[in-house]
Symmetry: C2
Subunit: 307 residues, 2 copies
DNA sequence: TATCCTTACGGAATTCGTAAGCATG
DNA sequence: CATGCTTACGAATTCCGTAAGGATA
């Protein structure tokens, strides 16, 4: 058993069982990959892959179990590498962050700027994606850190920490009737067409929840994944916007914020890492930047309690 | 990075940093081991071991972190082997069980007998030890299964399941005054010298607890790790014995049991496996033999939830 | 017939053990 | 001076890529 065999198996599963592609990905020859896989299968005494004639078509039942273990093995191997890099005082490396648009656009810039000065030699890979995919990315090791407001705490394989709390804010264009109202109510709000986030994004669930509780059906005419798009359509007078407070901090001159703390439940943005991951010094630093209240030993314990 | 390097590091830490010994254990040459370790250190860019001149004396700070990861890696590798053996339908292998004396003596014989007929080609390694060590053995992978009444549930790295419930029983020799009493009380019992288990063994904590709650100080004249010794001394009229009900089932003719269900809290014997371990079919069978109420999917989930 | 996997083979690189050298308690 | 680690070197093994062969959509 060796690591090249394990890499071949993992890559084969990831790349749709096409060994030619696997060979390219691993910078080796196709017969080599073929051999690695067969040798591992022989050593374990089982078929890992289903074969249709000569072509691989999928995983066998035992193969699925094997793949799980192989993934864990390779993740631990990466942990080992990173441990080495950390303690050898290397400041180079890559910090891979998966975050939603809202985080990437309004929250991360400050953290990234600080990070750049603190660790100038570390490359940052920002992966913007939907909350449900962020968890996947972190679980698979493709991202070191995941940041989102929804859907991170459901995964056993992740440890997540609260970063900060925020509210939704109503955004209207110049001269909108709501600007004259002292305290906006949900009923009032529901009289206008609304523009807000897609389901599953940026606290959308709390918006729906608020309306449902008061048995009001809002007229949501348009949803988007990001606040810029929402603002764009509010400017075009298509409706009243509901965006995250972070997005409402720097509005263009023709748009105006109206507080909505009293209407929608507050949201907590969380940062997540894979349970058992070895975190580089700079990754820990970045997390602490995002969640300043988080104690270092809390973090270490939560991530490594598996020991 | 390769597995031989990892094995060398682990073995070095286990064998007191004597590379000559490590070489023997791994059936290779001493310079080979030396090289493996140095190459891994070079690849990771750190010193794993403290050196005093040429000799290894211990782990460096980073080395401790590295060792943790290495241990996990090698355990996963063993999991992979076992997965192969399981699915390839091999009935050979070894089931390593760590248990207390009481379990080994009175509970395991039946399970082992059943196991021998079901899996005649699997060797059984019974490791008898103190409860606190059982957890260690299972955690380190030296034992597949641990069985004890105390001290298994405290470990995050273990998953444990209840096997069966039992009580303590009072044991007295022929003609003892307690035999004439209808229902023994703690006060009455405390008037005699007592012989029972060592602290930390076989439900001893529940015995102490019962006396403490009634503010009685029993006169425990002798403690032992196992029931045979206790019975021996009861026979010699040194005092009244308190043993596990399993041990009182087959008493010699000159000793007599007196129920004590009403005096001491009942005990639950538990079986534990390492979280994330891959369990061979026969190991699962053995566990089910011990804990018949345990559902298969419960077990699988608890052990592998890490995925 | 184009794609994809296997087999065969030979050269290259790695690995490993022996023997000798050196440090330490 | 005995134990224990390192260095040096050569042999053996393993590894890997190229080229050819065969199966399948």
């Amino acid at each position: 058993m060796n690591f090249q065999q394990l890499r071949s198996v993992r890559e084969a599963a990831r790349r749709g069982y096409n060994l030619t592609e696997v060979a390219n990905a691993l910078f080796t020859s196709q017969p080599g990959v073929s051999r690695q896989i067969r040798e591992l299968e022989e050593e374990l005494g089982i078929d890992i892959f289903e074969r249709n004639g000569k072509r691989l078509t999928g995983l066998t039942e035992p193969g699925k179990e094997v793949l799980h273990i192989v993934e864990r093995l390779l993740l631990e191997a990466e942990n080992l590498q990173r441990a080495g890099e950390t303690y050898s005082g290397k400041t180079t490396g890559t910090l891979s962050i998966a975050a939603t648009h809202t985080q990437t656009r309004y929250v991360l810039p400050r953290a990234v700027q600080h990070f750049r000065t603190a660790f100038p030699d570390v490359r940052i890979a920002l992966q913007q994606s939907a909350p449900e995919h962020i968890a996947e990315w972190v679980l698979s090791g493709k991202a070191d850190i995941g940041i989102a407001t929804e859907g991170l705490s459901r995964f056993e394989g992740l440890v997540s920490f609260p970063c900060y709390e925020w509210h939704h804010v109503i955004v209207v264009p110049d001269g909108h009737p709501l600007l004259a109202v002292k305290s906006v109510t949900l009923e009032l709000l529901a009289q206008y067409p609304l523009i807000t986030y897609d389901i599953g994004f940026t606290g959308r669930s709390h918006i729906d929840q608020a309306f449902t509780e008061q048995q009001i059906s809002p007229d949501i005419v348009l949803t988007a994944m990001d606040s810029d798009v929402i603002q764009q359509y509010v400017t075009m007078n298509l409706g009243v916007g509901i965006v995250a407070s972070m997005a409402a901090e720097h509005l263009p001159a023709n748009l105006h914020p109206i507080p909505a703390n009293h209407l929608f439940a507050s949201n907590v943005t969380r940062v997540a890492v894979r349970r058992g991951a070895f975190l580089r010094e700079y990754a820990i630093d970045f997390i602490q930047q995002l969640a300043p209240k988080l104690k270092l030993n809390e973090l270490a314990e939560a991530v490594n309690w598996r020991r």
